[in-house]
């Protein structure tokens, strides 16, 4: 007899997803508990690699978790959830079917008779504004219109739970914005029978713009780090101070996860403890951010204000700040980035001095210490790329190991502590300064 009648639709209890086994065992998702109630628009927000898409697949039953229970309306989920559907990031339309046939197919496989299907499909295409494009093939449409087909197809099966897997991230800015507006209109006006929406996104503003509740996730391992209720009235104004305050709050929560130095640096590969993943950030991005900060009076800035001048999305921005923090060039405090003295020196130094500073900073990192000491011991002070990658694969999944080595070599080359010959696939030790303690 609850006034809000908030019965829970989806419930996850201690859900865990582990890939691989033995030494190559990776926890993609760790101990997740969450509930999605009727009438809610929930956003799962986190950086890439935090397992939010995996979580979406577990919730819809496309994938079963290694451990834990998934309940739908109190019943354990055993197969693909027939009451849920997904709008995909890359649309996932059948390219050989027309707009009409793509929507029609979703109804046809449920055994709905032709007459009823015909009317419903036309009505839905009308609703999302694709009237007149029935016989077009997806390849003839713009990204925004393709996603409209994706929405029409998803709504056609009248799901109770509508899952959105980064549905706007492959669209241009304008299409994304208008489609967000249209979805919110459908949802808020109650003209679709959907009972709850779950959206996966790495775009902070998007989550704050649309959701009633934002679940914040972080990576390594993928886990929930917080929840934020958003009580702003719809339609929300992005430029309003209240909106920006919430965005700032989210950034603070996501970027402020600084831990003690030992934990932050992690351990070297092969040693006990977790090896720190290097954020995938290029040198010019690192220097770009520092050069931007040094121009700002007070040498500090709200994180969300950095996205625009740097041309980075929020996900990558968080990676970038994490890297700067790791190197000691910035500090993060309550959603603000503050340039450290070292960062300022770096930003104002010339190229050679920068390289020297950078070299001393990366030598602190266990993963570099590990690689450099291996190289020193190696024959002719060189190692094959594949050998190093194989060693890293004991700590990371294979493609992550490759990306890690990419970043290591990129940073190492810039700092002139490493050299790499692509022809031979060999990583070399560069000449080190003679005085080293």
């Amino acid at each position: 007899m609850n006034l809000n009648s908030q019965t829970s639709l989806v419930e996850l209890k201690h859900v865990q997803q582990v890939y691989g086994s033995g030494a190559r065992r990776f926890t993609a998702i760790q101990d997740i508990n969450l509930t999605i109630r009727e009438g809610e628009f929930v956003a799962l927000l986190g950086p890439s690699g935090c397992g939010k898409s995996t979580l979406l697949r577990i919730i819809t039953g496309l994938q079963s978790p290694t451990e834990g229970a998934v309940l739908y309306r109190g019943q354990p989920l055993k197969d693909v959830n027939p009451h849920a559907t997904i709008v995909f990031q890359t649309f996932a339309l059948f390219p050989w079917l027309t707009v009409y046939e793509n929507v029609d197919l979703a109804l046809k496989v449920r055994g709905i008779p032709a007459e009823a299907r015909h009317n419903r499909t036309l009505e839905l295409l009308d609703k999302v504004g694709l009237d007149g494009f029935e016989t077009a093939y997806p390849r003839e449409l713009s990204g925004g219109m393709r996603q409209k087909v994706g929405f029409a197809r998803a709504i056609a099966v009248e799901p109770e739970l509508l899952c959105l897997d980064e549905p706007f991230s492959a669209l241009d800015l304008l299409s994304a914005e208008s489609l967000r507006g249209e979805l919110m209109e459908l949802w808020l006006s109650g003209s679709i029978p959907t009972r709850a929406i779950l959206m996966v996104t790495h775009n902070i503003e998007e989550a704050v713009f649309m959701a009633d509740r934002v679940i914040l996730m972080d990576k390594e391992p993928g886990r929930v780090v917080g929840t934020l209720e958003i009580n702003l009235p719809h339609p929300r104004q992005r430029k309003s101070p209240a909106f920006q305050a919430v965005v700032d709050q989210v950034y603070a929560a996501l970027a402020g996860q600084t831990q003690p130095e030992a934990v932050e640096l992690g351990s070297a590969p092969g040693e006990p403890g977790t090896t720190r993943r290097l954020p995938q950030v290029r040198i010019n991005e690192l220097t770009g951010l520092l050069e931007h900060l040094v121009e700002i009076p007070g040498k500090r800035e709200d994180i969300y204000r950095l996205a625009e001048p740097l041309g980075a999305d929020s996900d990558h921005l968080l990676d970038l700040i994490e890297a700067e923090e790791l190197l000691g060039f910035v500090r993060v405090q309550q959603g603000d980035v503050i340039l450290t003295d070292l960062g300022e020196t770096f930003a104002e130094a010339r190229i050679l001095a920068r390289k020297e500073i950078f070299a001393t900073r990366i030598r602190r990192l266990p993963i570099f210490r590990w690689l450099l000491s291996m190289l020193r011991k190696a024959d002719e002070q060189r190692l094959e790329w594949d050998v190093v990658q194989a060693a890293l694969e004991l700590e990371f999944p294979p493609d992550e190991a490759e990306r890690q080595l990419d970043t290591i070599v990129d940073w190492g080359r810039y700092a002139e502590v490493l050299a790499y010959d692509d022809n031979e696939g060999m990583i070399y030790l560069e000449m080190e300064p003679t005085v080293e303690k």
Binding site: R57, T60, G61, L62, Q63, S64, T66, K78, D79, V80, P82, A84, T85, I86, F88, Q89, T90, F91, A92, L93, F94, P95, W96, L97, T98, Y100, E101, D104, L105, A106, K108, V109, R110, G111, P113, A114, H118, L122, E134, T135, Y137, P138, R139, E140, R153, V157
Partner: protein, 574 residues
Amino acid sequence: MTLSTRSFSMGAGSERRFGIADVLVLFGLAALLYAGVRLAINAPPSVQEPVISLQPHVLPWYALRSVSRMLAAYLLSMVFTLVYGRAAAYNRRAEQVLIPLLDVLQSVPILSFLPVVLLGLRAIFPERLAAELSSIVLIFTSQVWNLTFAWYQSLRTIPKELREASAIFRLNTWFQFKTLELPFAAIALVWNSMMSWAGGWFFLMAAEIFTVGEQDYRLPGLGAYLHEAANQGNITAILWGVLALILTILVLDQLVWRPLMAWTERFKLEMVESDNPPTSWFYDLLGRSHILNWLNQRIFTPLDEALDARMARWFPPKPIKPVNGGKLTPVEILLGLGLLGIILYGATQAFHLLFSISWSSWGVIALGVGATFLRVMISLIIALAWTIPVGVAIGTNPRLASFFQPLVQVIASVPATAIFPIFVLLLIQLPGGLNLSAVLLMLMGTQWYLLFNVIAGASAIPQDLRYTARLIHLNKWEQWRTLILPALFPYLVTGMITASGGAWNASIVSEYITFGGRVVKTLGIGALITHSTAQGDYSMLLASTLAMVVTVVLINRLFWRRMYLLAEERYRME
């Protein structure tokens, strides 16, 4: 607003009235029906099996017989492909056995299947039917493998998001097959079907006349006609036969393959329109046909609708299997043990046979492998020597390409085996004549793979790189060394893998021929296989087949695979 669901739409034109296209369709239908009836009452009296008539007027019937045989073999290939490829793609345990097996099977020369197939079928069916079925199975073995590989690879490369979409929208096995797997594989399947038919034509002569031990089998058809013409040294008949064969191939190309290629264009996965889609006049004509559109709307669409409705009702979507694979079920274990038992039994029997072969025979086999290896190498080198310059010239010059490409395609579609007897006639007098003509046949059969790949590679060289090469004043040789050859390398490797496999297989028809009433053979593993088939010497057949398969598989694994990996890694244009 009217809307028709067009799963097999053929363009607009429903406003037009009865036209020339409809007349053609009607005539075509009538011709097909008549042909069927004639076949059923067993063709004209002049086709008196097993005597192969060399009168030119029997050729249309022979052509029809051969096409029917090829079609039957092709349908068999498709069924095999769909089942085998699906099993390999969706069952990881089956995949580990099925894919290496496919690799071995495709290097077994078709004649080696003959005794097993024929003896097996003869035990069940009457003699004539068994011979007919054997011929179909032989053609099948020259068509099926690349199709199966193509289907398997397509299934493996279906994008993950389309798979997830079909799971979340609850497509059952039927709908997955119909709206996801088949459309996704369509282009690869059509392309490989054309290759398969070319392969079938190539071995048609071997598949329509064969000798096993004491017995001679002759099946009326184009292949048998050509074979008999060559056997009698009747040049006029050979020319008639070649003409009929070329016409048949051209008609099939225009009426079947071109329209299919034009139609499958819609199954491209790319989200952009292509510049140069394949076209077909016949396809356009069909699209304008009033009758076909009417049939499509009144009969096919409702039938399709009814079938879909049944399928949706009868087969609920399969539950998703747990990620961790699960354990072996008792049925799987039993099946596995049974299979193992059969394999072990077969292997011991085979070894028994092999032990009966004398050391000197093994020596002959080794020499044969060596001789054939040399021939394959020489034919590859000759093919490379002319296809690289010609292919690059055609590939880098759109004007030349628009002129030569169709021409080359027509020439390439003529199976080399058909004109082979003429060359033999010319060359047989020379010293080492058969050696020369064997290399020539391998060359004729395989050079086209190389040429097409070189053309494709050359036209894929980015224009800006070619400009750069000229801007920095590289001379001709340096341009070849730094740009053209490295860019061609992956295409050359792909072409050579196919060409070398083809050349090994061609050895069975090029090293041992009956011509002008006598047998001409040379030292080679292909000659050994053909000879032991004809003699009914099964232990020798088994030994030489094994020797050839092992050699080919080893060459593929040790040499071509490495080259392929190198090409993938180092020389790929991105």
